[in-house]
């Protein structure tokens, strides 16, 4: 995992995507060089979170993410 010194290595667009999908970057295993977190890593983390969430809820629908009071819908690709 690319978090030497508590730091996660990921590009600005991937960091933004993680916020958008409500994924905690520090908990993502990066598949890029030296463990850099990629867009794909964030999307699959979001999907597995969504899968386990819908398992818990026992239903299969997109999860609403609260961002600053405005709700965004986590999208599946």
């Amino acid at each position: 995992k690319a978090d030497s010194g508590g730091r996660v290595f990921a590009s600005p667009s991937v960091r933004r995507l993680a916020r958008e999908l409500d994924v905690d970057l520090a908990s993502v295993d990066g598949s890029g060089p030296s463990g850099r977190v990629t867009e794909g890593d964030v999307r699959s983390a979001a999907e597995s979170a969504e899968a386990s969430a819908s398992e818990d809820a026992g239903e299969d629908r997109p999860r609403n993410v609260e961002i600053n009071g405005k709700s965004a819908t986590a999208k599946r690709d």
Binding site: S4, F9, S11, R16, S34, R36
Partner: protein
């Protein structure tokens, strides 16, 4: 402009039109928010009117005149004379063009501009006092507010800027003539930029600095390159001395300094420039009425989205605690605040904040130093490339300094860089991007860099850290 005391409302009220505030206002308007920007003095703030822009304009002219006058080695014989009033006109023209541009851009993006001084009435309204006689005042109610009131120069005891002999940086930038003798109090970046400029324009410059080197926030080998050059320019530097006072004398002034041990010195001058730092402007808009408290030094604490303790009120720029007082930081914070209000998934999570000093040569830094990397728990791999080994640097006649890259030994991730040398302010951009992208040494080393450019030195420094440099011996 509205006359009398009427109340209007806005989604986003931005206070202060510096590089923090005007950028925040434009971005908020771009997001479709009804946005109002209040400014009490001049659009563009400190940066465009009294800081970054006029200082760099002066530096350009001083550099060109000085260089052309000292280039016999490359065959140029010239004896340039600088006409200060022409230089001021040009500089003022540049400032006017940019501040006029800011105003136009605000309007084009639909920002409502209000001239006046804002004070909080409560958590959801400010009162705006309009400047002149009989201009009255107005109340503006807001859903969200972004405070971007910037900073002011710090005055030290005994040196009142009201005296014409005592200059603030703003006075120095508006100078009508070049003083024969100039004492500069403070060897920080503003002090050193202006010392270099006036030395090149012909002043005998003396710098007095309390600490034991110039540019104390930079590593000593970085500062050293600038100090050596300053010495060659004839700048006289005195360390461990604090300015204690000044008095008039014949046709000039005498500045007195004191060491910690109480040893006094005196320096003759025409003007004394006091450049010991800037402090946040948070004491004039009745923050307490909005329920916000500044810390003991006047800064405001904010979260990752630049929100203050009062959720719908944001603070950005020089008034923010913990981020450096720099124009580009203010702008980035403005973007974050505006987009956060609009509900975008942003945060101020920049891995790398670059900074530049426009001395001779320039300094550009970003991210961690070797020491900081160690403190953060990394094992640093260091790569360095002296400009003396750069073909491009030699062909420009400026080959002092170096590029240093700090990376993590294990992963190769680039953590920081320090550049001192020609165009350091521009060269640092590539490394800021490298850090933000999570680039490794290998990535920078394998990227083709145009020949002959100074940017090749960035690539060579990365190669050096990997033990693969071509144009310098590997450690």
């Amino acid at each position: 402009m509205v006359v009398g005391d009427i109340a209007t409302g806005t989604d986003v009220l931005v206070i202060g039109a510096g590089p923090g505030g005007y950028v925040a206002a434009i971005r908020a308007a771009q997001q479709g928010l009804d946005t109002t920007l209040v400014e009490k003095d001049a659009f563009g703030g400190t940066c465009l009117n009294y800081g970054c822009i006029p200082s760099k304009a002066l530096i350009t002219s001083a550099d060109l005149a000085h260089e052309a006058g000292h280039a016999e080695e490359m065959g140029i014989h010239a004896d340039p004379v600088v006409d200060m009033s022409q230089l001021r006109d040009w500089k003022d023209g540049v400032v006017d063009q940019l501040t006029g541009g800011v105003e136009k851009l605000c309007k084009a993006n639909g920002v409502n501009l209000v001239e006046g001084t804002a004070r909080f009435k409560d958590k959801n309204a400010v009162r705006i006092a309009h400047g002149g006689e009989g201009q009255g005042s107005e109340t503006i109610e807001f859903e969200h507010c972004i405070i971007a009131t910037g900073s002011r120069v710090i005055q030290i005891p005994g040196f009142d800027f009201a005296n014409e002999q005592v200059w603030s940086s703003r006075d120095a930038l508006a100078a009508e003539t070049v003083p024969d003798d100039l004492v500069v109090v403070g060897g920080g970046y503003i002090g050193m930029e202006l010392s270099t400029t006036f030395a090149k324009l012909g002043s005998n410059v003396t710098v007095v600095e309390m600490l034991d080197d110039i540019l104390p926030t930079y590593e000593s080998d970085v500062a050293r390159v600038v100090r050596k050059r300053a010495e060659l320019l004839g700048i006289d530097m005195h360390f461990g001395e604090g300015a204690s006072g000044w008095r008039e004398d014949d046709d000039g002034i005498v500045v007195t300094t004191e060491t910690e041990d109480g040893e006094e010195s005196e320096y003759y001058a025409d003007k004394v420039l006091v450049a010991v730092g800037r402090s946040p402007v948070t004491d004039t808009m009745e923050l307490e009425n909005a329920g916000i408290e500044a810390d003991e030094r006047g800064f405001i604490e904010v979260d990752d989205f630049r929100r203050t303790d009062v959720d719908h009120i944001y603070a950005i720029g020089d008034i923010v605690a913990d981020t450096p007082m720099l124009a580009h930081v203010a702008s980035q914070e403005g973007v974050v605040a505006a987009e956060h209000i609009a509900g975008e998934p942003v945060a101020f999570d920049s891995q790398a904040v670059p900074a530049a000093v426009f001395t001779d040569p320039e300094i550009g830094t970003v991210g961690m130093t070797e020491e900081e990397a160690e403190e953060a728990g990394f094992t640093p791999a260091i790569g360095q490339m002296p400009f003396g080994a750069s073909g491009r640097a030699l062909t420009t006649g400026h080959a002092e300094g170096f590029v240093r890259i700090v990376a993590d030994e294990d992963s190769g991730f680039i953590l920081g860089a320090q550049i001192v040398g020609p165009e350091a302010s521009e060269l640092i951009a590539e490394l800021a991007l490298a850090i933000e992208m999570g680039a490794r040494l290998e990535d920078v080393a394998a990227t083709i860099h145009t020949h002959p450019t100074l940017a090749e030195a960035v690539m060579e420094a990365a190669e050096n850290a990997l033990g693969q440099a071509i144009h310098t011996l590997n450690r």
